[in-house]
Symmetry: T
Subunit: 146 residues, 12 copies
């Protein structure tokens, strides 16, 4: 299977490992990328890993994934709760989209209770730290193999 799985990361995730480690853990985004790349390879998949602080660039990536990717794993971070543009982009593409979160947003500030991305995605995995990515990857691969 030649199309890569897109793993798309939202705002401030580039800070991982330094930012509020009691919530987000001490691994960096590069650590996560490495773990995902390795895990995907064991199942015969490639990944396309990216991060942006700009909502529109995430929209671009989702659109690119819709064309060139096999599936999307997205950690929309703060845009989870505010972005109808991400909602529209996910609805507009024809590949599976899986939402992941390092933390459990529902257990934090009340403004994190609503997720526009959940309303558009196939499934959601949250609260397992970097394992959320690996579980999301496995879910994507399961869906692709089904």
């Amino acid at each position: 299977m030649s199309k890569p799985i897109y793993i798309i990361n939202g705002p401030n995730l580039n800070l991982l490992g330094t930012r509020e480690p009691e919530i987000y853990g001490s691994q960096t985004l590069t650590d996560i990328e490495d773990m995902c790349r390795e895990a995907a390879r064991t199942h015969g998949f490639k990944i396309e890993f990216s991060q942006s602080n700009i909502e529109g660039e995430l929209v671009d990536k989702i659109q690119e994934a819709g064309e060139k990717g096999a599936a999307i794993i997205i950690n929309p971070a703060a845009f989870t709760h505010t972005s109808i543009a991400l909602y529209d982009a996910i609805k507009a593409v024809d590949v599976h989209c899986i939402e992941v979160h390092l933390s459990q947003p529902a257990a934090r500030e009340s403004f994190r209770r609503r997720s526009f991305v959940s309303e558009a995605s196939q499934g959601t995995i949250s609260g397992f730290g970097v394992k959320s990515y690996l579980l999301g990857l496995q879910a994507a691969i399961d869906l692709l193999k089904a």
Copy 2:
């Protein structure tokens, strides 16, 4: 009259023709650009046509139009409902601004009921597919000729 009419398109509209055609129709954004350019020409107007998935670039375009354009026609797409930055930009420029939508947002998800862009614009045209642009163009030209 030498200043062009700016036609500014928001996130995901670059996908037109492929995305959810039962809602948005099968014509592409380039088709719309061509139709608008032609329609404008018959009235002696030029258009400046753009699209961006990035809210801030739309703000830039509105500001540019405020300086170099005769009027603005904007389809803010998902930003319609979330962007106070667009609201502020439209309020800040001194040219007519007309909001257009391909679909009828009020008849869709409840989060599409409030439009910050409507609250700042001269007028709104929604629900007529690509004709919404042509009607918006005509409205702009009527205003400019008045």
Copy 3:
């Protein structure tokens, strides 16, 4: 094409030209009727023009239009925001229905933000003064010719 386009006007629009001209302009409803009739004629259409302050009479007119008309253009005025009966009537008839407003309701009192009529109509045109009617008429004719 022999069926007329119904242009239906809601409460207080009979006062046009005298009432709050800074919002609604100085032309009377008869001026609008004349302009619409003339514009329709140039496209080979007749219009059936009416106004009522009574919600139920507007429901009657919509029903009549559903039977004898080619399309509906409605300015529901104050009933825009309160009438589920108009919503039901528009849903119940099988002709295109286009909502028009002289002003931009979203930019006025907050109780004007929700439009039940938008939720039932094909499209909406607002904010262009009497031109809103002419644009609505053109939209209707475009739909009928499509």
Copy 4:
């Protein structure tokens, strides 16, 4: 018993049989009138059957029923959710008032969840198509015979 049971119908019910038959069934309002008249006769009752799209005429009918009728069966249709005038009229008369609906409003648009008419009526029957009227009639007769 000489006073008739008033059966009062609200806006758009005159369209029954043509309007959204998947929700409202294919029988006309005249069919309903005939069925009710026949059912009432078998219990020795007369009915007074009316329909109006005008809220105030429904208020008039309720008042008339308060004076000349034995009971009221009302299908307030769209006014169910918006009319305090009907609420006041029902509260003001001294006969039993039963609210009926062809469909199940609570299962439709969220704006149909509140019924002012329920808050003023003796009882409510909804969701059984034209049988809602016959059940309402039977309920009224039971109350009158009690």
Copy 5:
């Protein structure tokens, strides 16, 4: 002064004297008309007294008063809380408009707390039974003599 003061009464007020007398008192609307006419005459004024259960007819009366009347006293009853059409009509005419209520709406059901008519009127008098009309009349005359 030859123009009459319009006293306009909303839905169900024709039942006064019979309806819920513990709230509204035992005097009829004709009693109120007589008292107002007499009180007006002592100050050299005529009154034009009307009642309707139909919102649109109340709009008509307000418009008529705007043209032929000196001032408006309105008891909008149930429409107080639901009618933007009355709000628009009152805003559209150029004579003083005074809202009166027999009872104290704020002390009753919670849906009676918002008054669209108050938001458009010069002043409001509520809670004094039929005296509310006489006080309203006096207020109107004071304004006219000022």
Copy 6:
């Protein structure tokens, strides 16, 4: 027809006849059972009558009715307003479900305005005391015979 009609009663209904008789009447649940059994027999139907104060047991009964019953008549009492589990159970079974209430919930405390059970049921009958059951039974039999 061999399958019984299930009549399922929610919390506190076992107290009927003693609890707040001014709202619920003086007949006991056994009286209701007897009346329903007799009424069903005259139409050639059996009933399966039960009551529980435990939400989950009501879910069990609805599921049992879905398998072994011809239809469901349910008075969910307090669970009407709080139970998504009942909503899900009713949605999950393939027999008609009719909601009945002795009183008129909409006319009582404001927390009784929303019914999750109405949102899932075929129809609702409320406000007629024990007659609500008999009307519900007749509605069920009409549906089964249709």
Copy 7:
């Protein structure tokens, strides 16, 4: 009749005549006191006139009026919208209480829409400037003479 009518004024009303005269007029609180005293005298009544910026002193005055006064006329100003203590005090005394306002609160900021004082008072008069006091005085005297 020997007990005085209490006229009680809330916060900032001591500034009358200087504060926002386009809303409140140019007469001072002493002018109002003089006018009220004179008007009361012509009907054989005395008044007890006071003002305080302290909510608790207004509560004291209401209690004093309950013991030594014939009736209360209160302009609660800002406390109208926030004071349950005034609500409780008015409920606790056994004399008529009439709420007056110089302006029409419902037509101003949205936080002025709810009046706790209206919910406890006999009646309300608002929007007539200083005449609101005179009308309130007349209403009180009418009630006392009834």
Copy 8:
């Protein structure tokens, strides 16, 4: 490791395979139990699998798991959105608790947007059908091995 992983299922999940298969798939709860047991065995774990329609029995199971179990995987179904008792139980026990859902609740009825169980749980996995359980199991095992 000798303590079992508790897999706890809420109301109506016993119907799996028959109920709304377009949302929940065609596998039965026993199928899920078998798959989970097998998957656990491959990692050297036992499972304790249960289902109940009764909220309090689910509370019992969570407490039992807190004492005798290694971790909890819970699909709270309808109680997700209404049960503070489950929230309290999860908070009260000292083992990891993982919430799973077959469907994506956020994309369904609006009353499914809030999850009390998410607010108390370690993590959530939703939208992957029966795979949600397997991913949850893997997450639990990862946590136990960490």
Copy 9:
């Protein structure tokens, strides 16, 4: 006096002493039972002490207390905020019902602000740990002796 005072405990209270001791203290429910039994005995009263995690069993207990008990002391725990069934049960019985809480719910999560049980009970005591029970017992005994 031979009838016992019922002390009824809601979900998760069986965990007392182990669960979140910083909120609920370190005494077990049996400790509380012993203390209450002893305290009651000194006043010549017996107690009937129970706990259940099942809402419907609490309803059963309340009903039993209504028949066989002298008074009710209830700690409804999580059901405080969600159970209309408890509200109805308390309203339906004719003995004093006193609500107790170990902690101060108003000072915790915002979803603990509304208590349906308070709306139906005679009185409430919260925030004193196990002393809340003893104070509640004393209040009950005072009421019974009055």
Copy 10:
């Protein structure tokens, strides 16, 4: 123990015994003071008893109690629901604060559902008439002796 327990009473409580005795009972505040003083003495405590209609004086008293008192018992009356100043004062002092109410606020007007004072206090006792004070006193003494 030499520091007194402060018993602080809010607005309108000076009227006790005359005001709405069906809600508040017929004993005066002096009766309550005497009962509390006597009860305290039996446990070897003094009380400092005060009442004010002025929110700021209650703040003063709370501050004084923080310095010179052993504990606070407060009946904040109407300020319960509106005073963040009391909330701040209670938070700022280092002695136990117990909220008491004669009636059960949750069972009265809906604006009495939120208590800012509960959110800051140790515990609350409501609904037992004057016994609420004695129970509060006992709770305070228990806390002081602990």
Copy 11:
């Protein structure tokens, strides 16, 4: 310049230095007064410094400042969020009014998000501890010198 700058402090600020020092710091209100007086003197200004726990006395001070002061610096503390009387007072006077806070209210309890005082004031400075006063003073002096 001879008129002093009024620095007005709201409820509980007299406790500064003792109350919740982790939020408010350890300096007393007298320390703040001294720092402000010194800072003002270096710019040639006097200050009039006051504190009250009584809302109405703060209104008095604002009015006094309107007459005798050059500007107002106000820390309204708890009244920030509840006092329309302060709002009205600030609107009523003709001098600059600057709102200061030691802490950052928006980052604390949700009931501190709305500031009525901000809606009436020229500007706001919050979150800098005692420096908020000095910055406010500087802002006032800048405005006075402009």
Copy 12:
């Protein structure tokens, strides 16, 4: 001290001096930059001044400031009210962050009442035009020198 203070400006602020000067004044953003640079220099500080209309670029700048800056002064303009991404970025960096506004947002449209940036920042200064920046700069320097 070698690290610069970052002054970060949000959308549309590049228009300063031309846009709605009655709200924002006539100075340009370059004027503000010059004033700030000069003011910083007098205290021995450098500034890093930037503006962007793109939310993600502001996130980038905040992150850069977290690494290379001494403090942040941010005028988030329209993003104040909508950006959780800015909230997260500010929370993620370890330098003081001060929010400034030229105008007083709370006194403008109601959608400007909530500030996500305030909820994450150290302090806020608003309403003083370009002086807000200078006061913010001084606050930052005070914090850095403390």
